[in-house]
C-alpha cells in the first residue's frame, strides 16, 4: 500500500515538474542562443537548421514561421531600455539608428502576435516610409493617441511587443554586441 502511494507521488511530481518546465520554456523562451542588445532580443539560430529544441518547441506552440537566416533576422522587445514593460497607454519613443540592412520593418503586435486595430491601418513602418532627421536617425512615437511625425498607434492595449526585422543583413549568428548591430533605443516618456 505504502509503496503504491510513494510510486504514485513520485510519478505525479515527475509529471508536474516535467510538463511545467516544458510549458515555461515553450511560452517564455530560453536564453539559449539569444542575442540581446539593449531591450531587443533575437535568436538568429532559429532561422537555421541548427535551431535548438527549446526554440523548436516554442515555434511549434505559437504557430509562427521563423525568419530564415538567408532572408533576415527578427529582433523583438517587450520592455523598454529600463526593463519597464511596454504599455500601450504610455508614450514610448523608439529612436536612433538600425544595423546595416537593405530593408527593415518595425511592427507592433499584441502578446499573441496579432496586429493591433487602429483607424489608420498603420501596423508598422518600413525603412522606406519612415521620416528621418538630417543625420539619418529616426524617431518613432508609439502611443495610443495621434502624434506628430512617425506615429505608431497602440490602440491603447496594455501590453504589446515591437518586432524589428532586418532583411538582407550581415547581422546574424556571428553578431555579438551593440558595436556590430547598433539597435535603436526604447524609452517610455510619459504615461497617463
Amino acid at each position: 500500500m505504502r509503496l503504491i502511494f510513494i510510486t504514485l507521488l513520485a510519478l505525479m511530481l515527475a509529471t508536474v515538474v516535467g510538463l511545467g518546465a516544458t510549458w515555461m520554456t515553450a511560452t517564455r523562451g530560453t536564453d539559449l542562443g539569444a542575442l540581446t542588445i539593449g531591450a531587443w532580443t533575437a535568436r538568429p539560430k532559429t532561422g537555421t537548421a541548427d535551431i535548438d529544441p527549446y526554440s523548436r518547441a516554442s515555434i511549434a506552440r505559437s504557430g509562427e514561421l521563423p525568419v530564415g537566416t538567408g532572408d533576415g533576422v527578427a529582433f523583438s522587445a517587450t520592455s523598454d531600455d529600463r526593463k519597464r514593460p511596454l504599455d500601450g497607454r504610455c508614450d514610448v519613443v523608439v529612436s536612433g539608428v538600425t544595423p546595416a540592412a537593405r530593408f527593415w520593418t518595425l511592427t507592433l503586435y499584441d502578446s499573441k502576435g496579432r496586429l493591433v486595430a487602429n483607424s489608420l491601418q498603420r501596423y508598422g513602418f518600413t525603412s522606406q516610409e519612415i521620416v528621418r532627421s538630417a543625420d539619418g536617425s529616426f524617431e518613432v512615437r508609439v502611443a495610443a493617441r495621434s502624434r506628430a511625425g512617425n506615429w505608431l498607434p497602440t490602440g491603447g492595449i496594455e501590453r504589446y511587443a515591437l518586432v524589428l526585422r532586418l532583411y538582407d543583413t550581415p547581422v546574424g549568428v556571428a553578431t555579438r554586441s551593440q558595436r556590430d548591430a547598433p539597435m535603436p533605443s526604447i524609452a517610455t516618456v510619459g504615461c497617463r
Binding site: 515527475a14 510538463l19 523548436r56 518547441a57 514561421l65 525568419v67 530564415g68 538567408g70 496579432r114
Partner: protein
Amino acid sequence: MIRLLFTIVAGVLLGGIVHLVSVLGLPRIATQDAYSRLAPITRLNAVTSLPQPDPGNAPLPFMDPAFAVAICRYDLSQGPIKLTVPVSQAYTSVSFYTRNEVAYYAINDRSAGRKVIELDLMTEAQHAELPEDEDVTAADRLIIDAPTAAGLIVMKALAPEPGLMPQAQASLAASNCKVQAEPTPAKR
C-alpha cells in the same frame, strides 16, 4: 522520512526526463503549428497567395504586414519540385521549411542575382539519382536538398509603402511551383 526524500528526488529526476521528452516531442504533436494552420488553406505542390494579415484575421501569428506572402506546400514523394519566383522591385526572398518548421534554407533576390529566382528542390535520394551529365549542365541551376519530403516554401515580396502592395502581390502571383516531369532513367 528517508523514503519521502527518495520519492521527491526520484520524482524530480523523472520530471527532468518528462521535460526532455516533451520538449523534443512538442514539434511532432503540435496541432496549431504553422504547417497545420496553412495546410487547409494552401494547395499541395502549387502556389497559394496568403491573405494580408489584419487585426481580426491572420493566417499565422507574427506575420510582417509589409510583405506579400505566397506559400508552396510541397511533397517531394511524387518527384522533385521546380520553383520559379520573379523578383519584385524592392525585395524578394524564398525560405524553405521542413514539415516541423525548421528553416533549412533561405535566399533573397540579391544572392540569387537575377530577375527570376529559379530553384530545384529535391530529396537527397532524388539528387543522388540525377544523371551525372545533367549535374554538370546544372552548374548554373540551384539545387536544394530537402531534409524531409514534406514542407513549406515561403515566398515573400516587400511592399516598401502600402501603395506598392498590389505590385508585390502581382509579382508573387507570377511565381510557379510544380512537380517536375519524372526523368525517365531508361533513356540512358
